[in-house]
């Protein structure tokens, strides 16, 4: 981290932006060097596939969070939403087995339900906060509790398990691969590319930036602020739904402890990636790298005895704080120019 700090400080005006953009990437490279130094097995294909596959859940959700945060909002409900959608998917698919049998149709309907619920839950967050003029923090804190208790209720306090036969049909979505690349990683990549295009190349993305940096200016620029903000929550919901679709076949179950603290990991990935928490500036590739970094830290701690694996959260927390500190330092320098 200190080398990163130095390079940022010593670069001249013209190169500054490049290094700022490269910051999270350099940090990830550093983590990989450390990982390899600790254990040769770190760079093995199996381990890397494992890291990227696990990073996919948080990463996909974090891509959605990048939109919400760039437009100046926040969504705390994503972890609970993921649990709720998982639970609902399982209940629906188990029910359908009786009529449709344990075939591909059942899985497809489950996927459809997931997407509908994700978009719906996102729309609820967005509409309540914009039309109701309530802080997104409060609204999503509320829905976070609601979705969490709904899944607990559906599972009757226990665990919802997917029908065994359906699990067999659904299994390749998590465990399968195409040309050796795990399906979740491919989905993650596709979501990231789509997110990048949407955020950086379309009028919608430009409006997100504008709203996040100054809502008043956006309003005076004929932007339908409420509509755009609501859409960012819908995108977030859709991303949660996609993450859930690849998460359900992994364990084939959902309980009240599914997706706990995912919202914090997703927000952390976004922030580590260089997106401003106060809005107005967002970076999808940074978010992707942020998600991979968080997973990599856990993975490295698993491979070493030097630090207990139980301290995973502490190391992640430290990295988040350092990342934000570096961001802020950079911001100050810019301002004083």
């Amino acid at each position: 981290m200190s080398s990163l700090e130095r390079t940022e400080a010593s670069t001249s005006k013209g190169l500054n932006i490049d290094f700022k953009a490269l910051g999270p990437f350099l940090a990830l490279v550093a983590l990989f060097v450390i990982g390899t130094g600790i254990n040769e097995a770190f760079l093995s294909g199996g381990n890397l596939a494992n890291i990227f596959t696990r990073a996919a859940f948080i990463g996909i959700i974090a891509v959605g969070a990048t939109f919400v945060i760039t437009a100046g909002g926040i969504d705390l409900s994503v972890g609970s939403m993921a649990a709720f959608i998982s639970g609902a998917m399982i209940v629906v698919m188990n029910t359908l087995v009786a009529t449709l049998g344990a075939g591909i149709e059942t899985v497809l309907l489950g996927v459809l339900i997931s997407i509908v619920l994700g978009i719906g839950a996102g729309a609820v967050n967005g509409l309540v906060s914009t039309k109701g003029k309530i802080e997104a923090f409060i609204v999503t804190l509320g829905t976070m509790g609601i979705y969490r208790s709904l899944v607990t209720y559906m599972a009757d306090g226990g665990t919802l398990s997917l029908d065994f036969e359906v699990r067999g049909v659904y299994r390749p979505v998590y465990y399968g691969d195409i040309l050796g690349i795990p399906v979740p990683v491919l989905v993650f990549f596709a979501v990231a590319v789509a997110g990048y295009v949407l955020l950086n190349m379309t009028p919608f993305g430009r409006k997100c930036f504008a709203i996040g940096s100054n809502e008043q200016v956006a309003r005076y620029s004929a932007i339908h602020v409420d509509r755009v903000k609501t859409l960012t929550y819908v995108i977030q919901g859709l991303c949660v739904s996609i993450a859930t679709i690849i998460y359900v076949p992994r364990l084939g179950s959902a309980s009240s402890s599914t997706g706990v603290l995912w919202e914090l990991e997703a927000i952390a990935a976004v922030i580590i990636g260089g997106t401003m928490l106060k809005g107005g500036y967002g970076r999808i590739w940074g978010t992707v790298i942020g998600a991979i970094m968080l997973t990599t830290i856990g993975n490295i701690l698993n491979l070493t005895d030097a630090i207990s694996n139980y301290l995973n959260g502490a190391v992640q927390g430290l990295i988040i704080i350092v990342a934000v500190f570096l961001q802020r330092g950079d911001w100050r320098r810019k301002k004083s120019k």
Partner: protein, 517 residues
């Protein structure tokens, strides 16, 4: 303790040299903004600092007050070299800068702001009564009737300015630097401020006064220093200078014609007609016709409802009634998008708060209002770049590096960019609210000519302005508002300052009575 500044000064002290900047140079990165500038501030003197936007005035005063360090050169306080490591050290030496952008905590009260960080205490607890009494006394000195317990966010900008000045007085400022203090003040408030400045001068305070307004400098300053492009041009007594001289020194050339020539327009050709627009609590039954190719001025005191009326017309503010027609055909405008489609554009007076994205560079700012023109699915970056090049050329926007964040631009360049942004929608009717607030005279004249060019191209302009010369120099007709109503539409010989004031204060006009409701 706060009374220390209020002491009699013997006459010999009047000309005493207090603070000097000597051969000050300042660079930000590779860009040098000040070149060997020297300035002397004397006790009991009002020294004006004059220069166009970007001339280096703000940088110079920030160096004098410790916010910036000079790259080379030195500060001399009472004959001894000093270094102000930061603004706090400067303040401890009695040098206080009142910023153009006010620095008050909006959620705190007036008294809490004035004593922020140096609260009066009794034992371990705050002595609120003492602070309130002290605040009351300071505000009374300024003839200001604000309740010390009011929260800053509930005060109009002009009162906030008074709070800032009271705060500086409470810190025993004996070298007071005011950075464009009248930009947000009304005429009466300016008079009170000037009385205060004169009183402080009589007490031996050294005052550095930055302003674009040559009238003010004539009225208040003893000497004036002119900066241009970061260089010291001259320092001389104000008494020997005419306003034209000062303008020439500042701009470095003659401003031949401040305002564009006006041509007669056809009274029957109505571009925009507005009837019975009301906004609860702000505008009542306002109606007017805007002729094609004319500049229609809207005058009135602060709070007369001019901005509210315009925002109601373009759908930024809800109206309880009102009909709008373009070229004789009724239109329905519910939001700004509708207004845009009807060819109406609005330039906000608050270019920093609602006009421009200060943390971004020019390109996204320029195209934000007309984004669909640059691609509905994917934004065409090349088209954006081309539009930016055109805008820079057409509106003479002077930015060394197009990647500079517009927050770092001078006010004049920001205003030009805002004008360019609005013109990207290719409007037929342009509503311009305070087009030259906080802008130097050279850029002002440029903007006036831009407005003149618009009308020559058949576009119609509504001009809201608190600056009388601008109102009279640009407008073909002048609508005057008072207390939310239109009190008169002045044309021909009635188009003068006297008539405007009579209507604006409700002395005359068809609905003047309503002012006293």
């Amino acid at each position: 303790m706060t009374d220390a500044a209020v002491h009699a000064v013997d006459p010999g002290q009047q000309a005493r040299l207090r603070l000097s900047g000597r051969q000050i140079c300042k660079s930000f990165g590779p860009a040098q903004v000040l070149f060997d500038v020297s300035i002397d501030l004397h006790a009991g003197e009002v020294h004006a600092l004059l220069g166009e936007n970007g001339a280096g005035k703000s940088t110079l005063v920030k160096i004098l007050s410790g916010y910036h360090q000079p790259t080379s050169g030195e500060l001399v306080l009472d004959q001894a070299p000093v270094t102000f490591a930061d603004s706090e050290v400067g303040e401890n030496h009695g040098v206080i800068l009142i910023h153009q952008e006010l620095n008050l905590a909006e959620q705190l009260t007036v008294e809490e702001n004035i004593f922020l960080g140096r609260e009066i205490k009794r034992g371990w607890f705050l002595d609120k009564a003492a602070m309130r009494a002290e605040t009351r006394k300071l505000l009374d000195q300024l003839q200001c009737n604000i309740d010390p317990r009011t929260r800053i966010r509930d005060l109009p900008v002009s009162d906030r300015q008074m709070v800032e000045i009271a705060k500086a007085l409470s810190k025993n400022a004996d070298i007071l630097i005011l950075d464009e203090p009248t930009a947000v003040l009304t005429g009466r408030e300016v008079d009170i401020l000037f009385d205060q400045i004169k009183r402080l001068r009589a007490q031996g305070v050294a005052i550095l006064y930055i302003s674009h307004k040559l009238d003010e400098i004539k009225a208040i300053a003893d000497r004036v220093t002119v900066l241009r492009d970061g260089r010291h041009i001259t320092t001389e007594p104000v008494a020997g200078l005419e306003k034209d001289d000062m303008a020439r020194l500042m701009v470095g050339r003659d401003i031949k014609q401040m305002f564009p020539d006006r041509e007669a327009v056809q009274a029957s050709d109505i571009a925009l007609s507005v009837r019975d627009v009301s906004v609860p609590g702000q505008v009542r039954d306002a109606g007017f016709d805007l002729r094609r190719g004319e500049v229609l001025g809207f005058a009135g005191i602060v709070g007369a409802g001019r901005t509210a009326l315009m925002e109601a017309i373009i759908g930024l503010r809800e109206r309880s009634s009102g009909d709008i027609a373009r070229n004789g055909a009724p239109v329905s405008i519910k939001n700004l998008q509708d207004a845009k489609k009807c060819g109406i554009a609005y330039l906000t007076k608050d270019r920093k708060g609602s006009g421009l994205l200060l943390n971004m560079d020019m390109r996204p700012n320029l195209t934000l209002l007309a984004l669909e023109k640059f691609g509905r699915v994917i934004i065409d970056r090349k088209a954006e770049e081309a539009a930016l090049e055109r805008a820079i050329e057409a509106f003479d926007i002077r930015a060394a590096d197009p990647k500079t964040k517009v927050g770092d631009f001078s006010g004049g360049n920001q205003q030009k960019l805002l004008l360019a942004k609005v013109m990207e929608t290719d409007p037929e009717v342009v509503i311009i609210d305070e087009p030259t607030r906080g802008i130097d005279i050279g850029t002002k004249s440029q903007i006036y000519h831009f407005i003149g060019d618009l009308t020559k191209r058949g576009k119609s302009v509504i001009l809201l302005s608190s600056e009388m010369p601008e109102m009279l120099g640009l407008s073909d007709r002048i609508v005057v508002m008072a207390a939310g109503r239109i009190t008169g539409i002045l044309e021909g010989n009635d188009r003068n300052e006297h008539e405007i004031m009579r209507h604006a204060t409700g002395i005359s006009g068809k609905q003047g009575v309503s002012v006293h409701e």
